[in-house]
């Protein structure tokens, strides 16, 4: 198929998947919308949809109409910070065809370790955050050696192993928080406050950016995107990871060290998730109070699927997910539709995006059309 047609097909397929998800969402919103008559419910649904689709960027009021609010954009961008990191993490791990689901536990552990460094290790400002984040990433990277090595040496399922690790991480952190590290002077379980030197500053020091917590972490995230993109497409290790993911037999026969590269991909993925946790923790919070897995890991998986494991597409996918997520939050606030709708939308999009045979017949038609045109062109050349 021609490149243009291929791209057009991908766009159409993506749009159809999104439309189906939105249709499902609309149906569910309708059921949950307030109002007694059909008409009222329809209105309520419309209102909810408006909140979901337009709300994230635009303020809607009866008096002033619809207006773009920079703060809303800043909110979305800030929300993208952790999910860009987990998205990148999953991209790299899934590219080698390994279903390591440890980004979820990884981001929590990275956040926790960074928090510890932020609280207990005094360091000059600027350096403090960097070191804390790097250590957070490193710890998770080392931990990912476990599922990676178990897979390459013993063929133990990296999926089950990483899933178990997620829970172990969560409970160990909760235990440490409960027993040793909680600041007993506070109401809920939270750690002591981070030293000020460790905070990651908002990009611009105005109320919009600091209110939204749009910190330099976002810049770091974008830098990470570029680095991962370069790594995956412009370095020999990323290349090896991708080739192993496409055809492991071919990679081995070509002389690549399959086992080592698989381990590398999972360790790197761990680092990214851990570092992401650190960036989010030190940018948004002043003490550590996560008592459950945050869910960024699962969003990261959706992002990776949407981005087809391409790091450069991660910000777009992350923006899309953050937009929808905020939309659902707004719906919850203003239209009384529970925010968890996002999980259902996410699942539906995920399913259709990952379905190879989805619209396969349409794709086949395009392939045939391209082939026919190619033949016609060749014939024309022959005659001419």
């Amino acid at each position: 198929m021609t490149r243009k047609r291929e791209i057009r097909f991908i766009i159409i397929r993506s749009l159809v998947a999104i439309c189906i998800a939105l249709l499902v969402a609309t149906l569910l919103i309708f059921i949950s919308a307030g109002g007694d008559t059909f008409h009222e419910k329809l209105e309520a649904t419309g209102e909810a949809l408006r909140q979901m689709l337009i709300g994230p960027l635009f303020r809607m009021s009866k008096k002033k109409g619809t207006s773009f609010e920079l703060k809303r954009l800043a909110d979305i961008l800030a929300a993208m910070i952790p999910t860009i990191f987990t998205g990148l993490s999953v991209c790299i791990m899934f590219s080698a065809n390994q279903f390591n689901l440890g980004a979820e536990g990884g981001i929590m552990l990275g956040a926790f370790v960074s928090a510890m460094v932020a609280i207990y290790v005094p360091m000059p400002a600027g350096l403090h955050a960097v070191v804390a984040v790097l250590i957070g990433g490193a710890v998770v990277a080392i931990l990912m050696l476990l599922p990676a090595l178990l897979k390459t040496k013993l063929s133990v399922s990296e999926m089950v192993c990483s899933l178990m690790l997620n829970y172990i991480i969560m409970y160990v952190i909760k235990f440490l928080m409960n027993t040793y590290l909680a600041d007993k002077s506070r109401g809920q379980i939270m750690s002591y406050p981070f030293r000020e030197t460790s905070a990651i500053a908002p990009i611009v020091n105005n109320t919009t950016f600091s209110g939204a917590k749009l910190t330099w972490g976002f810049v770091v995230a974008i830098v990470a995107v570029i680095l991962c993109g370069l790594f995956m497409y412009r370095s020999r290790w990323g290349y090896a990871i991708r080739m192993i993911g496409i055809n492991q037999a071919f990679a081995g026969y070509s002389g690549m060290k399959v086992g080592s590269v698989i381990v590398l991909s999972q360790v790197l993925g761990g680092f990214l998730a851990g570092a992401g946790g650190g960036v989010e923790m030190l940018g948004r919070y002043t003490s550590f109070s996560w008592s459950a897995l945050p869910g960024y890991g699962w969003t990261g998986i959706t992002i990776a699927i949407l981005a087809s494991n391409n790091p450069y597409m991660v910000p777009l996918a992350a923006f899309f997910m953050a937009y929808l997520s905020k939309g659902c939050d707004l719906m919850a606030t203003y239209a009384k539709v529970p925010a968890q709708l996002i999980d259902i939308i996410q699942g539906v999009i995920f399913l259709f995006f990952a379905a190879e045979q989805f619209l396969a017949k349409y794709r086949q038609k395009l392939v045939v059309k391209s082939a026919e045109e190619e033949i016609a062109r060749l014939n024309l050349n022959k005659e001419g």
Partner: protein, 529 residues
Amino acid sequence: MPDEKTSGPGEYVVQMKQITKIYANGAAANRGVDFNLRRGEIHALMGENGAGKSTLMKMLFGLEQPTSGEIFVNGEKLVLSSPSVAIAHGIGMVHQHFMLVPSLSVAENMVLGMVPHKSGIFIDKAKAVELTRAYSEKFNLHVEPEAKVMDIPVGMKQKVEILKALMRGARILIMDEPTAVLTTQETAELFVELKNLKKQGYTIVFISHKLNEIMEITDRLTIMRKGKSMGVYNTKDVTKEEISRLMVGRDVVLSLQKDKAVPGDTVLRVRHLEYINEWNKKMLNDISFDVRRGEILGIAGVEGNGQKELVDMLFNFNTPNAGSASVNGKSILGLPQQKIRELGVALVPEDRMLYGIASGASIEENVISDRSGEKRFNKGPLFNMKAIHAEADRLIKEYTVLCKSRSQQVGMLSGGNIQKVVVAREFSNHPILILADQPTRGIDVGATEFIRKKLVELSRSGIAVLLVSADLNEVMELSDSLIVMHNGSIAAYFEDTAGLTDEIMGEYMLGLKKQSVEEVRRVCHDQET
């Protein structure tokens, strides 16, 4: 219309008339083939790989449909649209790769799909065992009903397959290369069983290319070559040499222009290689040979005589039980494939889609897969994209790969162009030894010509080439010297391929003739052996 003689002994129980099978991609597997079976005979269907014999029988078993032609079974014209239809008309097939479930018992495999019930929901195990035993005794095919299939020897596995077909009412048995996986002892047993079945009135089609076996057990034989039937003969009326001449031969003799080889030092030295496969069959028997710089050593032979196993050993897809193989003095057996490549060995694999390419990746990504870590392609931590693009472009041009761009997905290319990508990579990283395994199988004429020319060119520039090919033209015309493999041993060594005839080749390939040990030893070009 079926011919006469459709009743009584010796009548035609199967008639296939003017069968033609052309696949969607244009390849013709059968052209106007006539084939008939007499009731109660053992009939051999012979031919080299690719001759069309398997396809013909697949159509008789309903696995494929003919493009044109008619099939009559017991005088009735039939459309065998699926195996179930074939089975319903008494045709059964014993596949080369057994259709058995390893962890299930023999009896369970036997009754799969037609399980006897006990009180409605449970398997009547006793009945299944009894049925198995009954059939086993009736046909004198000894099997252990309660043993798990993964624990029984290959010979017994085959008996189970035969019994499965018989139990489902087959009166006509198609056996696809039945002795390929059997030891000599098991083959002898099989023949006793087949003769027994024949006595009971069953008809057997015996697909094979093993001359000795066919002479021993069959009544008539049909020879196929390049999709056509070369005739049907009474086994006792025809000599092995005649069969060989009909089976092995080139319709068109390709003649390649090439300078005479001036072989140099030995690059690849193989000594006394032995290999017994997982089914206890000896696939390589005391294989010794040398490949020298500047020469193309061909390995000819019908597929299945150990060539695949040999190549596997040389590139560490498997390890032998005994023997040695070294490149310029360094052993390559069991060496990691990366290290084998570092020694200067390149492999054009037989399965190009599995090993040769990553079909979802671009041409460029495929063509540098063996050199991605080299200094010239890397600038610090990143690729030197300019150098890589240049390399890819250069190779695409030099190997005339027809494509839209270097970033086109390799899987989208035609078979010939895919193979060109493979050889572009394998030939271009300054190898000192090229292992080419069926390098032009299934690709178009243009690509074939190009690759063959390239091989000769590289050989003359001083590279050692080991060419394994089931294509007679290829192996006879490209090779400077060649060895013939039969039954896991080297049957012949010809120092000069000039003057070799198809007849001679056929006789060695089919095991009619075998050179002496001294004659074969001449392929080792050193004082010590």
